[in-house]
Symmetry: C2
Amino acid sequence: MINKLVEKIKKTGAPIVVGLDPMMNFVPEHIKAAAFEAKGETLEGAAEAIWLYNKEIIDKTYDLIPAVKPQIAMYEQFGVPGLVAFQKTVEYCKEKDLVVIGDIKRGDIGSTSAAYATAHLGKVKVGNTMCEGFKEDFVTVNPYLGTDGVQPFIDVCKEEKKGLFILVKTSNPSSGEFQDRLIDGRPLYEHVGEKVAQWGEQLMGDSYSYVGAVVGATYPEMGKVLRKIMPKSFILVPGYGAQGGQGKDLVHFFNEDGLGAIVNSSRGIIAAYKNEQYAKFGAENFGDASRQAVLDMIADIDGALKQAK
Amino acid sequence: MINKLVEKIKKTGAPIVVGLDPMMNFVPEHIKAAAFEAKGETLEGAAEAIWLYNKEIIDKTYDLIPAVKPQIAMYEQFGVPGLVAFQKTVEYCKEKDLVVIGDIKRGDIGSTSAAYATAHLGKVKVGNTMCEGFKEDFVTVNPYLGTDGVQPFIDVCKEEKKGLFILVKTSNPSSGEFQDRLIDGRPLYEHVGEKVAQWGEQLMGDSYSYVGAVVGATYPEMGKVLRKIMPKSFILVPGYGAQGGQGKDLVHFFNEDGLGAIVNSSRGIIAAYKNEQYAKFGAENFGDASRQAVLDMIADIDGALKQAK
């Protein structure tokens, strides 16, 4: 699956991922009205609204991008119907041949991590039948519990040819509270990065490992160091756009081959129609606004990478 | 909700929680046969099997215990139908007046953490209607992302009078890889424990905070130190029984008032009928085996606490 991601990035020329994080206040009124008309002001109505919203954005952007990253929390908040919408979104993206990164940030130990890995990347045996749950291609994983927590995910990835992005340095302001604390003179996130590199050695694709890392766009200097510590790990970079990261901050996350990073934007793309810059599209044409925002993001990153050469 | 937990612990004399982590190989054959007969060897069939299994265990133990801790991964592995079984389990336990600790180990940032908190502890607005998702009373939270990640959970807890258990020192062998690393001469888990105490000050119940901690039974010496660092935090203690923790290891997790800790056992209770000690009950009577295992666990912990006085 890492090979497919690399291939699709090369083909699209777009090392970007669209974060499908449908907050209800992003969803245009006409979509909400249609969904509530059909299913009421219920969890089912909310789930229908985010599904209709996602579908339009996917339809208008899928040919430009290699991957999407649905944030499961935004679906889980609508309970079981929300998770049905998550599943529909994953399946629809796969129909469109997009690589799907489930942003689930799960992490537990032993058989429990194995169960999460099965839920999202693998197959579960019921009687004599193998069944599938949520069917993403990659998931994000929290490393706080150590190797016991991560290895079960790696084991499922080996079997299924799927991949992981491990949280190393997150994009939020207080990520430093624990992640930046010095251990033997070096911050915790560097130690985690070293583990990611080690874990990744078990599971190499053609040029990159199936085990990647999450490093926030908001910390470009740390990205530079981590790029060296994990040369074979793809870095998933959140924090572009709404959180303050810009194209020029991102160059350090890439290797000299122009690969090795994939930059996420969520609200900057999916709620583009709410930004002044794209307001001319209007709420009715929110999908076209998202398409333009994707094109602009590709140009911004491409320009920054060319300038850095 | 922390007050209710304390009150129920006093009433039952049982500072224990039953971990409802239904692995398929724990479920007796006759339950599986009935479920697959009704719903096929499908995710729905698996979900029906774990629901029937849970119901019997709850019916046979609810009068002895204050709380249950369903591990969501074990349901999530069966996709949407598994999460329907999770929800049914939570609701059924609440009908039985049990405190429900959702072992979800979620953790993200800002609006994403808020969405998880809403999903499991709060209410979500759909149009003008407030809806509820999974309805637990407490959830477990991963602290790796820092205050940004935890505060949204605390905010929802304030509103809903619900609570958290933050991962501090987990019970698994490799928990030390990051959690034990020294920062300014003290292990990371102590720094996390200090934050838990600080976070908890915002949200005090009558005698304990709504913000508790997870500290594994397998590390009693660390439990002793953490008990002092977080005097007002309830400690949820996994790792008893199957993972090797014993009653005598647990005394340090309690305060002198005999409160402050709640000890989890999962497979030791729910799969008791598979242990030699309870084999005489037979698979048909697995619920009775679970009941006996609960009684024995209460006696073990009670004995250890009395001996320590």
